[in-house]
């Protein structure tokens, strides 16, 4: 068995900001993530995490480097997938932040900028309204707080498993089978966030 075949958790590096915090949180939960931009590593990983902060346009790197295809095939096989922040937005068809850059289209609809009189970006701790039966949100109490920092958001749809209010309701977590995404940062959301990451690791 090669070392590639033994990768348990691939954290996809697409040159969009800082992955240190995500990796650190996974280590704290006893996991040994591998940060990679190699489609082969992603393809063979037992779980895939797509983090991301910054601009949606950065996700173009995924298509350009064969990572979109690798993730698509991995998701189709039922490999657990977790998109974080821009990673969640990428699961949809796209984002008005970068209309020329398509998302993966795993979920229907596009992400759009907040249209509100409050401040944009939405930064800080906001509460979750959790749908029962979600595997990702198991053990997360109704009204639990998590940390957000973003200007674009996904609308509610049938795959929404957590809802947050900021000038209207948006999808703060999505889940379809083993494909999951969170708009907030579980790695920066204290004990609640670690619970959610641990739920993913235990899939």
């Amino acid at each position: 068995m090669t070392s590639i075949a033994s990768v348990q958790i691939a954290v996809v590096d697409y040159r969009a900001g800082n992955l240190t915090s995500v990796v650190k949180a996974l280590h704290a939960l006893g996991a040994s993530p591998e940060v990679t931009s190699d489609p082969e590593v992603v393809h063979r990983a037992g779980k895939v995490i797509l983090p991301g902060v910054g601009h949606f346009a950065a996700t173009k790197f995924l298509a350009d480097h064969g990572l979109t295809m690798a993730i698509r095939e991995s998701v189709a096989r039922g490999t657990p997938f977790l998109g974080i922040c821009v990673g969640l937005q990428w699961m949809f068809e796209g984002s008005t932040e970068a209309p020329d850059v398509p998302g993966a289209g795993f979920l229907p609809g596009s992400c759009e900028r907040f249209v509100i009189r409050d401040k944009v970006p939405h930064v800080g701790w906001n509460s979750l309204s959790v749908r029962e039966g979600s595997r990702l949100m198991r053990g997360v109490e109704e009204g639990a707080y998590v940390y957000f920092t973003h200007s674009y958001r996904a609308s509610l749809n049938q795959d929404t498993v957590a809802v947050t209010e900021y000038g209207g309701a948006f999808a703060s977590a999505v889940e379809r089978d083993s494909m999951m995404g969170v708009q907030f940062h579980p790695e920066k959301s204290g004990g609640v966030g670690l619970t959610i990451l641990n739920n993913f690791l235990e899939l």
């Binding site: 969009a16 240190t20 601009h55 944009v120 800080g124 701790w125 707080y145 209010e165 790695e187």
Partner: protein, 259 residues
Amino acid sequence: MLTKRIIACLDVKDGRVVKGIQFADLIDAGDPAELAVAHAEAGADEIVLLDITATHEGRGTLIDTVKRTSRGLFVPFTVGGGIRTRDEAASVFDAGADKISINSAAVTCPELIDEIGQSFGSQAVIVAIDARRKSEDYDSARSAEVFTGGGRIPTGLRAIDWAREAERRGAGEILLTSMDADGTRNGFDCELTAAVSESVAIPVIASGGAGTAAHFAQVFATGKADAALAASIFHFSISDSRALKAELAKLGIPVRLPC
């Protein structure tokens, strides 16, 4: 509902906490890693580590401090103090910071905001502004001036103009310190905070002057602050962030509780 953030600030020199918040049972600890985790566990929504080390040798210590501090910390972690280049910012991010705060260097070289924002995302860039009013006149909050070099050097810039420029260049948040209020414990400068907060769409963190929980309530309500920095307030009647937030909740301010 989006809550108002209480941010615990640790002043660090040569790898030791020299000012800021002291817990009854940790008064002599002085270890930033230990104190940061203690604050997170005591309900702080974020941690800011402000390095006031003046020497070049001390900078290496800072990276080690950031690494040790970030290891056990799972709330947003900001590092500020003496960051002058994109590469210095990169090394602080690599060590585990989520955001960096830049002050004098951004005034000297505003392009630094663009560079760090483009490399690491706007959410990772806080521009810190030290401002002082020129007079007691009406509207002096809007004409408050930016100072650099730890408050020694007047820049001729208006705080509200500089905040707008920082936002335009890609700052994710503004950390606004009122030099007039700082150290007084008579309350934040709510007028100044509101003037800056209303001038930008990005969050404003208020700093300087807190003495009571009511001061925090005022800066959130009338000062329109999105977050506030807590340093010397944690002493006798208000022991920690959790206690402060419990008081704020009673005053009708939305805060993260339980935490």
